[in-house]
């Protein structure tokens, strides 16, 4: 892990930035799924809710993220009936997903602390 981080840090500012955004989106999706399974649109709406509208997740980034995270094993998916009796694909947090959320939250805590300190320092 440490090794991978060094590498990504060395590969340039652009990568680091998109990693940051991607990491944030992933963390928010994980967070949104903690209470229970949701379909894609539900995830988008829940993220809107928990960030009080600060984050609006467009489908163009939502679906790739969901699929990426499923492939990584953090999410599981299954087709079932939605509240208004539509068939939809529901995503659930896996164990790995929970661990990931924990890890991301800690990292996020560290990063935001660092940023806050940096901002205070000026």
């Amino acid at each position: 892990m440490a090794k991978a981080e060094t590498k990504s840090a060395g590969s340039g500012a652009a990568d680091a930035r998109s990693d940051l955004v991607r990491g944030t989106l992933e963390m928010l999706i994980l967070k949104a799924l903690v209470p229970g399974p949701l379909h894609g649109l539900g995830v988008a709406r829940r993220v809107g809710q928990i960030t009080r509208g600060a984050f609006e997740v467009g489908p163009g980034s939502l679906f790739p993220a969901l699929h990426r995270m499923e492939a990584a094993g953090w999410l599981a998916s299954e087709w079932s009936e939605s509240e208004n009796r539509r068939r939809a694909k529901f995503y659930t947090l896996t164990k790995a997903g929970r661990r990931r959320l924990e890890h991301e939250s800690k990292r996020w805590g560290r990063v935001s602390l660092a940023i806050a300190r940096a901002l205070e320092a000026t």
Binding site: H39, G40, L41, G58, P59, G60, S61, F63, P64, A65, H67, R68, A71, W79, S82, N84, R86, R87, A88, K89
Partner: protein
């Protein structure tokens, strides 16, 4: 990406749309408006566009192992190809046919010309020909063989073979087989070890040695049931007990040039029982094979043979007057030599066809690349990197090339089998032909490169940011007149090349036609032939053989339905028997002139000329009396008569001729009593040698052939050689019975119509003309496909323009004329260039032609007509489509 995953994604997005629409509806929108709003939100910038972008985004997240990445590309490629099935089929077919034909023919050429012969140290094997008088590739006499063996240092082994036939008896039906009399060291030159038993040991050849034989695999299986204990068994050959020394493996075949009269399928090898040292100096019959010491070049070997020849001429006056010498000829070159011009011409034809196929594919890919410019630009606009696009194009090309290659393998192996079945004896003797995978691989690689290049141009244009420009052009994928010009030039080239291939095929067809019409000096129709070999031990004296031959001829002539039976030492165009030729001179010739002339030597019974249908020009046939008295009389052919007595009658003139009385060769003067038209004994096209016929009693050989001419329903006159007239096959069993009644132990061999030998003589040419016709067919097909593709593409592109013209009042005929005119321009130009190209190429294969000039105007004209008609046909289909266009539809087509 697996299809399941993709379908799942489609469903998921569809479901999300529904969910969004539900939301909007709950918020108070009508169901239609809700749906539109949902689409808008999901898309954010244009319906399908957005959904596709999402899908693309998701696909990019999939864990991309190398395999799944390729699978995803592969799937897209297959989808793209499935969208244009006609185009895909054209490319795959073009590749399959073009590559299949070329790999098969390359395989044959490779097997014949390039592969070494399947013998140990094959590159050191060489034939040693004697040359004397006008003969440059003559056999050697026993004395000469021994002299060569004794004096040469640069050949480590010198062996010899003489092929004749023998009778196999005592084990079922008597059977005549081909027997090779060999020196003991001959077979070890060609094979390390027999499959069973062993080679003859040194010294087991020569007179008075025990009778031994080494059998071929074929006769061991057919005649002796593949007996594993064959070695040491005794079999009956020519009425004598012979001990089997060994059996050769099934793969063993003798590869000698056809002119050597050593056929590939010899059934039995027998140590030469002759006293080579004590035989006559100049009775030449042994084909000599030598192995050069390693490191010796043919040039060095030739120099040594020249020295030996000079020494022999100095020591023996016979050799001096003959001007005897020897030529060394590496075996491989001698074997493949006769086939080389035909095969090289064939390879040239294949190269042209392959080129046509490549041009076709290039033209198709070019058109496709232009048509796909919009699609590729779109992909690029959606963020696909040039690398990604290149990979997609590469995948498409790989798929096309592989599909074409697979088809080519199928077509190629089928064609190869067909070629080998048709291949005349004497063409590929070096070994079995295989598909030339090297050629296939090369062609596939070329296709790949062409595919990427033609696809990359639009991709690069897109990457350079000309996206807007391309999209603006409305996606008709035009790159202006440049593309059309390029395709027209390609089609012009294609037609020109096709023209050259067609012209060569036309000339070969004319050659075949001439061969069918050529007068071979005999009539093959209504004639059945059979061959006998009178075993020496049972027919030792001249009188025995003459008596038997006369009785057999009489018995055969008495069969109902037989008009006349004749007997001769050789049959026209049968090249399987040893050919006896010898010097002759006209009476009064000076000593110095005597060895200058050679004639084929035939001993016959009266009736032979009538039976084979030879044309007696002057004088008379032999009589029974001539035979019985052993009168020194001869019939000569018109060539000999003209050469020796130009402007005079040959009748009554005298010649010194070789006779063989009681196995003693003697030159005696004989009186010419008749002149026949030259009979083609060796080939249909070449007059190899002049001919002398003498009564059988002057040279009663033990190899004899009979010809039975059946009574036809017609008048029996005229008609060319061919399968005209009644089927002579019905005479076969009465003929066998007639011979069996005279000698039940005598095998009757090769009971075939005389026409069979004519067929055989035409086989090589028929093979060539068939192949060139097949190549021409393929070339024509490919050219038509190419012309059609371009013309059809042009109609599609100009749909709107044509619509405008029709709307403005253009008549159907005008539209038809427009399309045809445009489509035919490259065809006509290509045709003109092609006729020029044909005239340039024709001299290269002129030696394969017979009875037609390389610049045969009729053939060229016919080729031009065929090409123009084919071109019209190819343009007519799209032209009809253009004519039937509804102007409204046409204008709407963006």
């Amino acid at each position: 990406m697996r299809p399941d995953d993709d379908r799942d994604l489609d469903d998921e997005i569809e479901a999300t749309l529904d969910l969004m629409a539900d939301e909007k509806e709950r918020a108070g929108l009508s169901s239609g408006a809700a749906r539109r709003a949902a689409r808008l939100e999901l898309g954010r910038g244009g319906a399908a566009f957005g959904v596709e972008a999402i899908k693309e985004g998701v696909r990019d997240t999939r864990p991309r192992t190398a395999l799944s990445g390729w699978l995803s590309d592969l799937r897209q490629a297959l989808r793209g190809m499935a969208r244009t099935p006609g185009w895909t089929a054209l490319v795959v077919l073009t590749l399959g046919v073009g590559l299949g034909a070329s790999t098969a023919i390359c395989g044959v050429v490779n097997a014949v010309l390039l592969r070494p012969l399947p013998y140990p140290a094959a590159d050191r094997l060489a034939l040693i020909w004697a040359h004397f008088g006008p003969e440059s590739k003559a056999p050697a006499s026993g004395h000469q063989l021994l002299a060569l063996r004794e004096r040469s240092r640069l050949f480590d082994t010198i062996g010899g073979i003489w092929v004749t036939s023998a009778a196999l008896t005592g084990h079922g039906e008597p059977e005549q087989i081909r027997a090779g009399f060999v020196t003991a060291n001959f077979l070890p030159l060609l094979i390390d070890k027999p499959a069973l038993g062993r080679h003859f040991a040194d010294g087991e050849d020569g007179p008075g040695k025990p009778a031994l034989v080494i059998l071929s695999d074929a006769i061991w299986r057919r005649r002796f049931g593949a007996d594993p204990d064959m070695v040491g068994r005794t079999i009956q050959m020519d009425g004598r007990a012979v001990e089997v020394r060994g059996v050769l493996p099934s793969s063993f075949r003798i590869a000698f040039p056809e002119s050597s009269r050593v056929p590939p399928d010899i059934d039995a090898y027998i140590p030469m029982p002759f006293d080579l040292a004590g035989g006559p100096l100049d009775v030449s019959f042994i084909r000599v094979l030598g192995r050069m010491t390693s490191g010796t070049t043919p040039v060095q070997a030739q120099a040594e043979l020249d020295r030996i020849g000079a020494a022999l001429r100095a020591e023996y006056k016979e050799y001096a007057s003959q001007q005897l010498g020897f030529n060394v000829a590496p075996l491989h070159g001698e074997v493949v030599g006769p086939a080389r011009p035909a095969l090289l011409a064939l390879s040239g034809g294949v190269a042209l066809v392959l080129l046509i196929a490549c041009i076709n594919v290039a033209s198709l890919l070019l058109a496709r690349g232009a048509e796909r410019q919009r699609e590729l630009t779109m992909r690029s606009a959606l963020g696909a990197s040039p690398g990604r696009i290149a990979r997609l194009l590469l995948t498409e090309s790989v798929v096309l090339a592989l599909a074409g290659g697979a088809l080519a393998l199928g077509i190629g192996s089928w064609l190869l089998a067909a070629l080998q079945a048709l291949q005349p004896e004497g063409v590929a003797r070096t070994g079995p032909a295989r598909l030339d995978l090297g050629a296939l691989a090369f062609a596939i690689a070329a296709t790949l490169a062409a595919g990427i290049l033609s696809g990359l141009t639009p991709a690069v244009a897109a990457a350079r940011g000309r996206i807007a420009e391309v999209l603006k052009r409305g996606g008709r994928g035009q790159t202006g007149g440049g593309l059309q010009r390029a395709r027209n030039i390609l089609i012009g080239c294609e037609v020109a090349l096709g023209c050259a291939v067609l012209a060569s095929a036309g000339l070969m067809a004319r050659t075949m036609h001439s061969l069918v019409r050529v007068d071979p000096g005999f009539e093959a129709g209504r004639a059945l032939t059979l061959q006998l070999a009178l075993p020496g031990p049972r027919y030792p004296a001249d009188a025995d053989r003459v008596r038997f031959a006369l009785r057999a001829q009489e018995a055969l002539g008495a069969i109902p339905g037989v008009e006349v039976a004749g007997m001769g030492s050789n049959l026209p165009l049968d090249t399987s028997l040893p050919n006896w030729y010898s010097p002759y001179w006209r009476e009064g010739a000076q000593e110095g002139e005597r060895d200058g002339l050679m004639a084929d030597h035939r001993s016959v019974l009266p009736g032979f000329f009538r039976a084979v249908g030879a044309h007696l020009l002057e004088g008379r046939d032999f009589t029974e009396d001539d035979v019985a008295q052993g009168r020194l009389v001869a019939v000569v052919d018109d060539t000999l008569a003209r050469r020796n007595w130009p402007g005079q009658s040959a009748i009554g003139k005298r010649l010194a001729l070789e006779t063989m009385i009681e196995s003693d060769f003697k030159t005696q003067p004989a009186e010419v009593i008749g002149v026949v038209h030259h009979v083609q004994f060796h080939s249909l096209t070449d007059e190899v040698r002049e001919q002398v016929y003498i009564p059988y009693s002057l040279a009663p050989r033990n190899q004899i052939s009979f010809v039975l001419r059946s009574r036809g329903r017609g008048d029996g006159q005229g008609g060319s050689a061919g399968r005209d007239g009644d089927d002579p096959g019905a005479l076969a069993s009465p003929a066998r019975a007639a011979i069996a009644a005279l000698d039940p132990d005598l095998p009757v061999a090769r009971v075939v119509p005389l026409a069979h030998y004519v067929d055989q003589a035409r086989r090589a040419t028929r093979f060539l003309s068939l192949l060139s016709a097949a190549l021409a067919g393929i070339a024509l097909l490919l050219a038509v496909v190419g012309v059609y593709g371009v013309s059809s593409g042009s109609v599609t592109r100009r749909t709107a323009e044509i619509g405008v013209r029709v709307a403005l009042g253009a008549r159907r005929l005008d539209v038809m004329g427009l399309v045809l005119g445009q489509g035919m321009r490259p065809v006509l130009l290509g045709c003109a260039a092609g006729l020029g190209l044909s005239a340039l190429l024709a001299p290269l294969y002129a030696h394969l032609l017979f009875g037609v000039r390389p610049f045969d105007l009729a053939t060229y004209g016919a080729v031009a007509v065929v090409l123009v008609l084919a071109g019209l046909l190819a343009c007519y289909v799209p032209a009809r489509r253009a004519v039937r266009l509804d102007p409204l539809d046409a204008l709407r087509a963006d």
